[in-house]
């Protein structure tokens, strides 16, 4: 299947718009279900938050749901859901996204809601304090009160990276969150949430001309503001093996995470994609190298996973980006045994490369996975938006299966060779509780 080419419009205020209809204009095809996806990606993530304000980008994402000039607190949720739709937002290293998926008759309403908060969000003390409490509960839920919380996305970066931007905890420390002020919010909004710093994506059951008219109607008078120069987060790769340990009071078994630097996802895309293929050869499916060796043959680990990207998906950040290998293992197996087994499999791939059969297996699964993912409107919408934002070309989404299919065995071998022990981070999780899982 060929992905339809997205249409693109840029408003005078700088807002970039990507439109991806189910059916091409003039087509007589009945199209897909009567559902639309709308997303806005802002070009700011948690790497941009200043020292002393860890977690602020994510906290601010919460604030963007708390009302705007035309919308009281709670109105955003009620209008989306009362139209039959769903919504959410998420904060990543380099961007923050907001989305709705709704019956297509609610398209204009979704655009109105996004435009209103892009133009004039209501940033109040009461809402800020309320959302600090909510975010703290979110962090307790996902990090502090559970085993392996923040593993590896919060725990690995401070070992692998040295600059604040790359190393700090994107969920934030409670003390930093509590220090956040309404004026911080105002400064953050004025700096980063300009229309020229955002991508609006509209997909699904839409007519491109009609949707474009609605975009002009609702976003046209969002005033242009200056767009900050995007900082480089580049830092030198580690010159030795960096090690650290983290004590986890809830974890019943030890775990280890290896972190490596990846090629620049934007500037060295094909080299990056070789790592995406490498990750699949290593840990995707029962026939993969690390599953076979660490799980089934040597019985060293309970679970193992390799992947490009810190947050669970490849191509989700700019440079620098992280290749991770994580494993949970029994206490009788030392970290070194796990790491040595990984190294010997990497060494074998670096020397011999993957087989042709492995490559075609990975390629077939990857293309199928992409089709499947993009059958869900929310994924298609968010992928187009983040790709337009990070790569400047939403078209890349449709081109990826062919680019991944073109990755050669030599390129995968080179990628494996670059995952050297002397340029990586090793993070060990040490269980510190004798608890048998807790419930007494």
């Amino acid at each position: 299947m060929v992905e339809p080419q997205p249409h693109r419009v840029t408003l005078p205020n700088g807002l970039r718009v990507v439109l991806a209809p189910d059916a091409e204009p003039g087509s007589t095809s009945p199209g897909g279900p009567p559902v639309v996806g709308v997303s806005v990606h802002y070009d700011v993530g948690f790497r941009s938050e200043p020292e002393g304000r860890t977690g602020f980008a994510h906290l601010f994402e919460h604030l963007m749901f708390q009302g705007s000039e035309s919308l009281e607190k709670l109105a955003h949720f009620r209008h989306v859901q009362g139209s039959g739709g769903i919504f959410n937002g998420s904060t990543h290293q380099d961007y923050t996204d907001y989305f709705q998926v709704l019956p297509s008759n609610a398209l204009e309403r979704a655009l109105f809601l996004e435009a209103d908060r892009m133009r004039a969000p209501r940033l109040t003390e009461e809402n800020l304090r309320n959302q600090v409490d909510v975010v703290k509960e979110e962090i307790r839920l996902n990090v502090l009160n559970r085993p392996y919380g923040g593993f590896p996305w919060i725990l690995l970066p401070p070992v692998l990276y040295s600059t604040f931007a790359n190393a700090h905890n994107g969920y934030g420390d409670f003390t930093d969150l509590e220090r956040a002020t309404v004026d911080d919010c105002a400064a953050f909004f004025d700096t980063y949430y300009a229309p020229g710093n955002a991508v609006l994506t509209i997909t699904g059951d839409i007519d491109v001309d009609h949707a474009t008219d609605l975009v002009h109607k609702h976003f046209g008078d969002v005033p242009a503001r200056s767009v900050p120069e995007r900082p480089s987060f580049a830092e030198p790769a580690p010159s030795g093996e960096l090690r650290d340990r983290h004590q986890d009071p809830h974890a019943p078994l030890p775990a280890v995470a290896l972190g490596y630097r990846l090629p620049d996802p934007v500037g060295e895309l094909d080299e990056y994609l070789a790592n995406v293929v490498l990750a699949a050869v290593l840990s995707d499916g029962d026939a993969s190298r690390l599953q076979q060796r660490l799980v089934y043959r040597d019985s060293l680990v309970v679970d193992v996973h390799a992947g490009a990207g810190l947050m669970g998906a490849p191509l989700d950040a700019r440079d620098p980006d992280t290749f991770t290998i994580t494993a949970i293992h029994s206490p009788e197996v030392t970290t070194d045994r796990v790491v040595d087994a990984v190294d010997s499999e990497l060494e074998r791939l670096a020397t011999e490369g993957p087989t042709a059969e492995e490559l075609s297996r990975v390629t077939a699964r990857w293309s199928a996975g992409l089709h499947r993912d993009h059958d869900r409107l929310v994924s298609r919408t968010l992928d187009l938006g983040s790709t337009e934002l990070l790569h400047g070309r939403a078209e890349l989404v449709g081109e990826l299966p062919a680019r991944v299919g073109a990755v050669t065995a030599e390129e995968v071998a080179s990628a494996a060779k670059a995952l050297r022990p002397e340029a990586r981070a090793v993070l060990e999780i040490e269980p510190t509780s004798e608890a048998d899982g807790g419930a007494a």
């Binding site: 859901q81 019943p252 949970i328 089709h371």
Partner: protein, 455 residues
Amino acid sequence: MTSATHRSAERIGHTEQGPRPLPPLAEPRAGRQPETVDTVLQNGLRVIAARHGAVPMVELRLRIPFAGEDPAHPARAEVLAETLLTGTRRRDRVSMDTDLAAVGGTLQAVVDPERLSITGDALASGMETLLDVLTDALTEASYPEHEVSGERDRLVERITVARSQPRTIAREELQYHRYGDHPFAREVPQAVDVAEVTPEQVRQLHREAVLPRGSTLVLVGDIDPAATVETVRRMTSGWQSEDAARELPALPEVAGGDVRLVHREGAVQSQLRFSAQAVPRTDERYPALQIANLVFGGYFSSRLVENIREDKGYTYGAHSTFEFTPDNGTILVDADTASEVTAAALLEIRYELGKLALVPPSEAEVESARQYAIGGLLTSTSSQSGLASMLMNVAALGLGQDWLSEHPDRLRAVTHQQVAEAARWYVPTAFTGVVVGDAEQLGEQLRGLGGVTLP
């Protein structure tokens, strides 16, 4: 914090033009219902095939009722699910995976007290391969000695990890509190039981319980439904038995009562889990109850979320959902809250339960919930995977695509009075449940509140 000359928050929140009116909704466009064939094969397997979606994929769901009363059943069932796809006469674990990968496919098996569920997907052009691997496992799974022993050892450790998750602990405690020693409550097997499972026990369980009669196969995607059913008929012809797969024994009604506090060492947050009896999904009162539940805590714009999250900041998420089995339905209410505010959150949940039962939802609340229910069905079934899962959920209750197609009209027909009646299921005394957390911190406050059994 970054822009030296930024505007004030007050200034940012106001434009010269002032607030603008919300645009009205446009005319809805009706979706097409997927072309579906729903039939029972000679071997007793129900097959539902639907053409749906624009991507060249097929989604597979297989549900085999898999209940067992034997206390050893959960452990054997768990090992069976973990090793079902690790070997047959024709294939070993690696060739199963490589054959699937060649058609972009995956297959996974999981088991719970009710059923063995197999989910999968593949390029539509590879559907025969997907079905071949599946039926190979269903009819010829060999449970090789080394695979069973390896998986058994890993399971013991995975169970330890699962039981360290607060949500798993809370679910287990709630099930025990609601259902005692009913098989439905045995979700995560005991590690000691798993350690004793032998390959022969698993093979025997397979022979006795992996059966087509009473099971359902759903295939959704870029497929011809009628031709797909014929393919399934041909490929599953070797899967035969006169016996029927085992459904769960009837569940007792959930009785209201005291909440039980369960201590979890080192907890900084508590899991609140409550439940009450409701009606089966097939009951004519269900659509009204669905709307009442949304108003209470079934979506973000609900009384419960607006109270304990958006007003008080006690929780990241609060939910009210249904749990349906073929002849039963219950309400489940959950929230996770910091230890300091757990008792206060319990108080608010009780308040909202009582309020829903006593103060009927407003017209606006009912309309919002109604639209969300109708739209949610549309958006959640717009993908192939979403429709496949939804079809399997309702098929397990004896329903099918017709029921899904008619459900929006059923929701439109619900009257305000019916919602008010359904809301009475939410009287606080109908609920029971558990709170899992640090009893040292919670005990005093919860004792003061009452209706809580302390450890």
